[in-house]
């Protein structure tokens, strides 16, 4: 080991040694500066920004060996424990969601000089955020130094419908060690896996002896060390709908990046080195990269007898969805125009900034504890229990603060091998994914080819629609069928048409698996549907908005495709108002063309719908109690992925109990300390867990009034629950007294599923400028209206809308996992897989249209996913409007646009 390094961090002296190739990021984290976040490790995202002698740098690409005699400042040292003006501004304007980019963003913004908002956005090129869509971040930086003290919201004002600050804000803007990897038990071992270099191969022989002999290696595991048991990595409730086709470790590998063997060692470096020493003799099998080819069944990806729930393994078909309504043939016979096209959607990656990470160990009572960055702790607990044959109560799974998920953490990807290693070694084990692993060995959005055929009458009435999706699920079938179901169900369901059919085929290929991703299949189907409607409008010379208005479902309609009765129901409906707001905002009749001949402008629109949670099966349980100190405690198994749901849920409870969010302590997502919740997915938390909280709070309220009426001998009817007391015109008792004198616990626990899932609707418009010489599309502005029911916390809802919209911009314009012919991903880093940066974000007008839903808490509906769906079709429609050229493949990168224009 080289000479020791002397340097200062936040004015504190350090004298330490490190390995020669260590990055400054790792050195700082090893010293406990957890606010320096590990995200891209390639110098592209700025999550690890620190100051080196007052100059901001990306510490992940700075050699630690150079730090000698320098002074480093991290977020922890920015204001000596207080809040700097920039930190205060980020709190005031809530310039964060999950908070993982926040320390880096603040360290950068604090040392920026800029003259305009445009320049500020450009200077933030090296700081990526995946949650906010940047709007709140830019507002925060612009606000810095201005006096904008935020007043707290009183109980009298009510809590629902108010911009109550996200309660985790102070932790996030100061870089507190709140995420999974920021804490670990002593004696931690590190796990790494050897990943397959082949797309499809059988392991003939595997020799781990050299790896095991390396100093610091604790254990090496291969398929020979495990009990072969098929499962799905998808985090679904039992009985799981997915194919059971995945194994802890297998004798076969099915994509480049699949697990071959696992090493547990004292450090990540040793584990990585040991992986290189494992000798594997692979029998290379024919591979199927393209789904159409895969369906021919020339090579079978899941030929093992232990796998089950596979639709047609011989043809690599993981699942199939068929939905029908009416008489398709008759419908097409009525049509004056029939249009048919195929739309091509790429695999894209979630890019949650915090990678997957889990830590497992045994606590003093012998309980297996799993600390993990997961959206589904309870499903994870159940799966681990099944996999390792351990009673559920002997496994505790909990999640600390999450740094984003977007569906990719509705998967059990790291917990399984971590637990295997802890069971085999008896020691604490951590497994953290690198950014490259995130890109190559987790999940993507399903790549799809969607063929859509629509028949219309001259007046624009849709008479028949036939949709067929080939959905690439990759090497494993997790989420395949459920995602592909929504591809047809929502886009077709949105339009009133008597004759519709949908067939979705979920196909295995030797590529990285696809999984859950915000929008869950509806995003892909929406692109096809909303693009084709514009094509029809163009052909019939009908205004595309009018064509939609003519065919959209109304509040009176039922969505019946493929079923006798449907649990996706129209609770509240304000889509008409959404359309009105967006078309007004974009003023779309009067687009001004620029003087330059090569620049063309146009506008385009798209509509979508997405359900609020899963009816009947998404179970949420909550427990709410009055504590002896007069405060409340809310326990829920739900997961705040970074959105702010922990705050929204407390707003609901506080509103019912006549108190404030600050008076409600919340415990979440811990299988041993909170009641069951299915988890955070399917836009469910506000609608289902929120309703559970609402119902429980109302019961508690009644219980408090009843108990108080007995204690102070007053008529319960005349009592009122106030912030600190229960009182009647003649008597009162403080909540403290009430709690302390009660003979039974003042606590309510209940569980809730919803019989229906109310649909949220949205409408979006975009104005674009196309450079016809280069093919570059610039989005000049956009407007989106979301039919939200009730916004429990408008600012949080707006954050979901802007974040979703910008994620949709990336899907439309930039993002695509590019594969070579062998199925290898060519762009597994944030340098080559670009997500939108601040400068890519146009002005956005967001309208939250509030018309209370009869089934949601205080009328609220889901908003987590819907914002993403419309961006790509709205932009494609705008490009067609500007240039006359129709793009049916995403992303609409300049080269494709240029080719389309020149064909």
């Amino acid at each position: 080991m080289p000479d020791s390094l002397n340097f200062q961090v936040n004015n504190q002296n350090h004298n330490t040694k490190c390995d020669s190739g260590t990055s400054l990021l790792s050195l700082l984290r090893s010293l406990g500066y957890a606010g320096v976040h590990r995200v891209c490790e390639s110098g592209d995202c700025g999550g690890c920004t620190v100051w080196l002698d007052d100059q901001p740098i990306h510490s992940c690409i700075y050699p630690a060996m150079r730090v000698d005699s320098h002074q480093i400042t991290t977020i922890e040292g920015l204001e000596n424990g207080g809040l700097s003006p920039m930190q205060q501004a980020f709190l005031d304007k809530q310039g964060f969601q999950c908070g993982y980019c926040t320390p880096g963003m603040i360290m950068t913004a604090s040392s920026l000089e800029y003259e305009s908002e445009a320049q500020l956005k450009a200077e933030l090129e090296g700081n990526l955020c995946r949650c906010t869509g940047y709007e709140a971040i830019i507002d925060s930086v612009l606000e810095c130094g201005k006096d904008s003290s935020v007043k707290s919201i009183t109980a009298k004002q009510g809590q629902v419908g108010r911009d109550v600050p996200k309660q985790d804000g102070p932790n996030l803007v100061t870089g507190k060690p709140v995420y999974t990897a920021d804490w670990s038990p002593p004696g931690l071992l590190h796990l790494k896996v050897l990943r397959s270099p082949h797309a499809h191969a059988r392991i003939r022989r595997i020799d781990t002896s050299k790896a095991e002999a390396l100093e610091g290696v604790e254990a090496v595991f291969t398929h020979k060390d495990i009990t072969r048991k098929a499962y799905s990595t998808a985090g679904h409730g039992a009985p799981v709908p997915d194919p059971l086709d995945h194994y802890l470790l297998d004798h076969k590998v099915r994509f480049i990046g699949d697990r071959t063997a696992a090493v547990v060692a004292e450090t990540e470096a040793i584990a990585a080195k040991a992986c290189e020493l494992i000798e594997v003799d692979y029998e290379i099998l024919p591979q199927a990269i393209d789904p159409i080819e895969a369906m021919q069944g020339k090579t079978i990806i899941h030929d093992e007898p232990e796998s089950s729930q596979i639709h047609d393994a011989a043809h690599n078909i993981a699942g199939e969805v068929v939905l029908n309504k009416g008489d398709l043939e008759a419908g097409f016979a009525q049509a004056d125009l029939i249009i048919e096209n195929t739309y091509i959607l790429p695999a894209v990656q979630h890019v949650h900034l915090e990678p997957h990470v889990s830590i497992s160990w045994f606590d003093d009572e012998g309980t297996l504890v799993v600390r993990s960055s997961t959206q589904v702790p309870f499903h994870c607990q159940r799966l681990l229990s099944e996999l390792f044959d351990i009673p559920k109560e002997k496994i505790r799974v909990y999640k600390p603060q999450l740094g984003g998920g977007f569906g990719n953490k509705q998967e059990i990807l790291t917990e399984d091998l971590c637990v295997l290693a802890t069971l085999k070694t008896g020691k604490p084990v951590q497994w953290r994914f690198t950014r490259e692993e995130e890109f190559t060995a987790t999940n993507s959005r399903h790549a799809m080819n969607i063929r859509l055929k629509t028949g219309v009458k001259q007046d624009g009435t849709i008479t028949a629609q036939e949709m067929e999706a080939i959905s690439n699920t990759g090497a494993y079938g997790n989420h395949g069928e459920t995602v592909t179901f929504l591809t047809g169900c929502f886009p077709l369901g949105l339009y009133r048409c008597a004759n519709q059919s949908y067939k979705g085929t979920v196909v295995y290929t030797n590529t990285m698996p696809a999984g859950a991703f915000r929008g869950y299949g509806a995003t892909q189907g929406t692109f096809a549907m909303e693009s084709q409607l514009d094509e029809i409008a163009h052909k019939l010379n009908i205004d595309p908005i009018k064509l939609r208005q003519h065919n959209l479902i109304t509040a009176e309609d039922e969505i019946l495709i493929g079923r006798e009765e449907h649990f996706h129901i129209i609770g509240s409906y304000a889509l008409d108002e959404c359309i009105e707001k967006v078309t007004q905002a974009l003023n779309y009749d009067s687009v001004k063309q620029p003087e330059e001949k090569h620049l063309k402008r146009g506008v385009g629109f798209a509509a979508t719908m997405q359900a609020s949670g899963l009816a009947k099966i998404h179970l949420a349980s909550v427990k709410i109690s009055l504590l002896p100190d007069g405060r409340y405690e809310l326990r829920t198994g739900s997961v705040d992925v970074g959105t702010g749901s922990d705050t929204s849920l407390r707003q609901i409870a506080a509103q019912v109990l006549g108190t404030t969010v600050e008076k409600i302590e919340i415990f979440t997502a811990d299988t041993h300390n909170t009641p069951f919740d299915a988890g955070s997915y399917a836009s469910a938390t506000a609608f289902i867990t929120g309703q559970a909280v609402n119902l429980a709070a109302r019961k508690l309220r009644s219980l408090l009034l009843k108990t108080a009426s007995q204690t102070i001998e007053a008529d319960a009817e005349k009592l009122e629950l106030e912030e600190t007391r229960v009182s009647s015109p003649s008597a009162s008792i403080t909540l403290q007294q009430l709690a302390q004198t009660a003979t039974e616990p003042l606590s309510v626990e209940l569980e809730h599923t919803s019989d229906r899932a109310s649909l949220t609707f949205a409408f979006m418009g975009a104005e674009v400028e196309v450079d016809t010489e280069t093919g570059r599309i610039t989005v000049l502005r956009c407007a989106e209206a979301i039919d939200i029911g009730t916004a429990i916390n408008p600012r949080i809802c707006r954050g979901q809308a802007t974040g979703g919209l910008v994620m949709g911009l990336g899907y439309a314009l930039n993002e695509e996992l590019r594969f070579d012919e062998q199925g290898k991903i060519l762009n597994p880093s944030l340098r080559t897989y670009r997500i939108p940066a601040a400068t890519d974000v146009p002005p956005m007008e967001i309208f939250l249209i509030e018309q209370a839903d009869p089934y949601g808490p205080f009328g609220a509906k889901g908003i987590g996913e819907i914002g993403t769906n419309c961006a790509a079709p709205a932009i494609a429609n705008a490009v067609a409007n500007a240039t006359g050229v129709r793009l049916r493949q995403l992303p609409m990168i300049p080269e494709r646009v240029w080719q389309a224009i020149n064909n």
Binding site: P2, G21, T49, P63
Partner: protein, 279 residues
């Protein structure tokens, strides 16, 4: 990221201390590239910081930039006012990536990596720079910027050889107006075409430094301001196989972009318009 395979870290104060260059050694200038990817083949890093090769010198012959000059130093440096072409150097810094990278990245590092997306290479070609290269035995030789790179990530440098400084002749600094134009698949990220245009208003000479789109940087010169047709003519005389053809961009598209950026660059310079750097 952590480079697990690196076992040795050398910090020579002079080149004489660097003896017996091994194939698994690697120069470390700013580190912003080498730490951005897994480097399984590298066992030893040779940190160049203490060589003190970071000077920026203005002399009678022109400008000399030390290989390890931190890129941002160029933004703050006061060049002689007449040296209008130094704007191209500043543009190369601004277009590298985040300003936080150019706090650490070096000019020489950018050139020696020879990535097709190098922002400095086409600038150096347009400004007719020469590179001074030191051999392990201490002898030096010079090479024209346009001859330095032979293919993507390949230069004429032999093992142990090192770029010492870049010299830009005064005749290519004074009076020349420059424009920097680049195109990437997204608004940021690796460029797929870069055109640096240098234009002398008195002589009407035009030099295009082409990067990004081609396997190694190229120079296209005109004695007078070319028309769009003339630019198109020259572009189409060059074979398509000089362009990179990969998942980021096909050769025909890169060829087309190169032509468009040349046309826009010279049109703006002759019209006195300060146009966009990025498309």
């Amino acid at each position: 990221m952590d480079l697990y395979s690196v076992k040795t870290y050398l910090r020579p104060k002079s080149l004489r201390e660097v003896q017996n260059w091994q194939t698994d050694w690697n120069w470390l200038a700013g580190g912003t590239w080498i730490f951005n990817e897994v480097q399984p083949q590298v066992r030893t890093l040779v940190d160049m910081q203490r060589l003190n090769w970071s000077e920026i010198e203005v002399n009678s012959g022109g400008l000399s930039i030390g290989a390890t000059c931190i890129q941002n130093e160029l933004l703050d440096f006061s060049f002689p006012e007449a040296w209008t072409a130094t704007n191209a150097l500043k543009d190369a810094v601004r277009e590298l990536a985040s300003f936080k990278l150019s706090h650490a990245a070096t000019v020489g590092g950018n050139l020696c990596l020879a990535l097709s997306a190098s922002t400095f290479a086409p600038v150096m070609v347009a400004l007719n720079a020469q590179y001074e290269i030191w051999q392990p035995n201490g002898e030096a030789y010079a090479v024209d910027a346009v001859d330095f790179q032979t293919a993507p990530q390949q230069t004429i440098l032999q093992p142990g050889e090192v770029l010492r400084r870049i010299k830009i002749p005064i005749g290519h600094l004074a009076q020349w107006q420059t424009s920097f134009k680049r195109m990437a698949v997204c608004t940021a990220g690796y460029a797929i075409a870069i055109v640096v245009t240098a234009y002398h208003p008195q002589t009407q000479q035009v030099r295009f430094g082409i990067g990004g789109s081609v396997k190694s940087p190229r120079l296209i010169e005109f004695d007078s301001v070319p028309t769009s047709e003339q630019i198109g003519g020259v572009i189409h005389e060059l074979p398509l196989n000089i362009y990179i053809d990969n998942e980021r961009g096909g050769a025909a598209y890169r060829q087309h972009l190169t032509q468009v950026l040349m046309q826009r660059g010279i049109a703006e310079l002759t019209a006195g318009i300060d146009g966009k750097r990025r498309y």
